[in-house]
Symmetry: C2
Subunit: 243 residues, 2 copies
């Protein structure tokens, strides 16, 4: 059991390291520093979530290569970083939310930088299109999934929750195998919604929803026969404890 | 001259009416009203700019159909509406910006709604992909243009300015004719940057930049031989007066 957990941990750690490295290349601190320093800072100051790693893991789960999911995983982190930044802005009508990282820049800069980080995530993903691979359709589908989670549907279900839950896992799979999408769509209710990390809020009803979706997610994963499923299951299992 | 202006005005008015109708269909007020009412309100409360209409006009300029550019034009307005909403938020460290429409919702709702409107714009554009038309590449390119204007490049040059200037015109053309893009890219410095509406700020140096780009834009337009160029030229000419 200890060996299994160690294996899982190194698997997730290696994905996280690759995503971080991808993001560092995409957002270097370069002139004008007044723009790229806050952008760089806020992207890496936002706490990591498991959604980007799940995006990569689900791509590998269906036989895809890690590189195929790297832009989508980065975009998911950027959505989260933008939301996180805005969630911690001091507005005149609300108290500062829960204690967090110290504000390194003034609120106006953080507001506008968040507004820039969000479209930059989609730019990164859209630019990952490789005409030689003829994968524009898949990238568009990944964009639709992430925008839906962060936009219209996200606002309905609670912005922060949705960015975490829906943005992650299936994008990775979709990037690899368009044919697999139909299957994925049927499993969607369970699998995508099973990405629970970040749901640490105790709003009434929310935890019940989360628990229901977590069970559904684990049930859906039963239909896969692959060693990587074990890793994903373990992270879904552990999720409610880790926030 | 009066006849020409009247013709131009009805041309722009008809485009604006079509974009408005497209947006109204895309963002109906529906349950949950707590989400879609502020979204609907803020999208239509933001003052119109010429960028979305220029997107449509440039599509028609190269022989495309108005419908091909409607999703991109709507996305451009949504970027503007989100930026405009955030620009008028009362943050603790800044005075309220210039007098504007009254706040119909509290700042927290306006902040989060703006965060939802932005990805919703890209969702709208990504969903306009029609597999039968095999136009995923063009839509991805339009997404790159708009995200670049609103994101990385936008932050460098001043967010608000760039959403207006770069987001508009060429997206329309790109949606119609991928082959035309190379030509467009060469003309980019001049043409795209000539979309000046909304640049009403008097930051030092900004007006000089604007004037330089305006002249460049008019020069680039000389190479086209089409009656619609006249309309576009007239709006570039008039731009500095109208803000």
């Amino acid at each position: 059991m200890i060996v299994k957990m160690a294996h899982n941990q190194s698997y997730w750690a290696s994905i996280d390291a690759d995503i971080e490295s991808h993001l560092k290349k995409a957002i270097p601190i370069r002139p004008p520093v007044s723009v790229f320093e806050p952008m760089h800072y806020l992207v890496f100051a936002a706490p990591r979530t498991t959604a980007p790693a799940l995006c990569v893991a689900s791509c590998e789960l269906v036989g895809g290569h890690r590189d195929q999911a790297m832009a989508a995983a980065s975009a998911i982190h950027l959505m989260h970083a933008a939301s996180y930044t805005h969630e911690h802005l001091p507005l005149t009508d609300r108290p500062m939310p829960r204690p967090t990282i110290p504000h390194a820049f003034n609120p106006n800069v953080e507001l506008l930088t968040g507004d820039g980080i969000m479209p930059f995530g989609f730019e990164l993903l859209a630019r990952s299109d490789d005409p030689a691979q003829n994968n524009s359709d898949r990238i568009l589908r990944a964009i639709i999934e992430i925008t839906r989670a962060a936009g219209s549907q996200g606002m309905v279900d609670g912005q922060y929750l949705q960015v975490q839950m829906q943005g992650g896992q299936l994008n990775g799979a979709e990037l690899h195998d368009a044919g697999w999408i139909e299957h994925v769509c049927k499993k969607k209710e369970g699998m995508i919604n099973g990405l629970l990390y970040g749901v640490g809020k105790n709003e009434k009803g929310m935890m019940e929803l989360v628990e229901r979706l977590r069970k559904l997610a684990l049930k859906e994963l039963e239909s896969f026969n692959d060693r990587k499923v074990e890793s994903i299951s373990s992270i879904v299992e552990a999720n409610l404890c880790s926030v």
